[in-house]
Amino acid sequence: MRENKQLITIKGTRDGLTLFIDDSCSFEDAFIELNEKLIEHHASREEPRVPVTIKLGNRYLDLEQTTRLQELIERDSHFYAQEFESNVIQKQEALLWKEESEVKALTRIIRSGQVLEVKGDLLLVGDVNPGGKVVSTGNIYIMGNLRGIAHAGSDGDRNAIIAASYMKPSQLRIADYISRAPDYESDGVYMECGLIDEEKDKIVIDRLQVLSHRRKDLSGFERRMLNG
């Protein structure tokens, strides 16, 4: 059986090697064959190390298997494992992924002393009162008055934005940036958003319309799928 069908296929690309591992055989068989293949390969000259992308097809590798495979590939220090690509992920991981990329829609008033924390994007239909706080790992959209604190991208996503129908926040936080309301009494603004301005290196508040060219990939799901 093993003689008839190649379990390991190697292809050279511009970015290094791509290693296809058959996804219907056992891990041990594939491991043995890869070992043989690597022994056959003798790079005598002093070459720079070649990056290898490992395509696993519909195979799931646990952490131990990944480490073993990586050690095998990097054993003779001709190659290094750049990336493991698999069509499958664990359910747990998928759920986490889903949670982080969903828009959570909620209708309530966040009052003084209350904290609302969500994973992913938050769509709040209601107010955030002074002393109240909303935190999300993604973007925050508020259909209502934002008078308290909003913290978007709490896991460090600097591309996150905060949008509100009426903005008069006591603080805006995005990732590790914080901006606060001025000390003088000011009127709030309608239909605006807060985002990080890379050039000024701070949070700026601007009209919602600027989002269409400054955050083109706002629709969170695709963005996070791409960023992993």
Binding site: I109, R111, S112, G113, Q114, D127, N129, P130, G131, G132, N145, R147
Partner: protein, 265 residues
């Protein structure tokens, strides 16, 4: 079967006790059977405002700890037969008693009275938890000051988790000229922030202070704006639709005539 209403605010000094006394008195004026409960244990005031201080023999802590029967601790008001007061203790502290004790007392009082008005202590600790435990409804008191509105907001948030109907709002101590000049929140701003139903507004009135100094709730005499306000609140509690009082001070015939002809002063 009666109804228990807790009067609360979070912040101290906004007029919980005064409001309790006056709403209670106004309800009693309409011939409802009313029992006031002071739950501010250790800092009791309600008996002083009602002028019943020297009639206290037993208090709520005696009831909780079983030294007397509930009926023995109730003080009948000197003006109305249908009004009673369950005073707080002055010697223990706020943490005395549990929510279970309060629920039991209130259930017992509900058999006898139409309205049980509970005066809540300031703060959000055990005393607050006890006071709201047995209540069916809540009235939140705030003044047009920022700090007081903030605390009211917090209290409304805490009440959301309890088995209580949506709280109603009383805005107390309104100073019209300051609201107009923007030095204080105005009624609309407060309602926008708190987004709960308004059940009454009370103007800051010297008569209120005079009356509580005398130990006679201001609602007893219908000669001041505050008194009318409290009576209106009581009528709204009974389900009547009463328009809000005008905040303007009508100064005399001349003003009235001007108003009649639509001339703004």
């Amino acid at each position: 079967m009666g109804e228990a209403i807790v009067i609360t605010s979070g912040k101290g000094g906004v007029g919980k006790t005064t409001s309790t006394a006056n709403i209670g008195t106004a309800l009693a004026l309409m011939e409802k059977k009313v029992c006031l409960i002071d739950t501010d244990i250790g800092l009791r005031n309600l008996d002083v405002v009602m002028g019943l201080e020297n009639r206290i023999i037993y208090d709520i802590v005696d009831v909780i700890e079983g030294r007397c029967k509930l009926k023995q601790a109730l003080i009948k008001d000197k003006r109305f037969d249908c009004l009673a007061l369950l005073p707080a203790s002055q010697t223990s502290d706020k943490s005395v008693g549990t929510t279970e004790h309060m629920k039991k007392i209130i259930t017992e009082l509900k058999q006898e009275y139409d309205y049980i008005i509970i005066d809540c202590p300031a703060g959000i600790e055990q005393g607050f938890q006890n006071a709201v435990a047995g209540a069916d409804k809540a009235i939140v008191i705030t003044t047009p000051e920022k700090s007081s509105v903030r605390d009211a907001d917090r209290i409304i948030g805490l009440l959301e988790n309890k088995e209580i109907e949506d709280p109603k709002l009383v805005i107390n101590r309104i100073r019209n000229h300051m609201m107009k000049s923007g030095d204080m929140y105005d009624v609309d701003e407060i309602l926008q922030i708190l987004s709960i139903d308004l059940i009454g507004i009370v103007i800051d009135d010297d008569e209120v202070i005079k009356a509580s100094h005398k130990g006679e709730p201001v609602a007893f005499h219908p000669n001041s704006k505050a008194s009318i306000s409290y009576r209106n609140i009581a009528r709204r509690i009974l389900g009547e639709t009463v328009p809000l009082q005008s905040l303007e001070n009508e100064k005399g015939v001349f003003q009235k005539v001007k108003k009649f002809f639509g001339i703004r002063s």
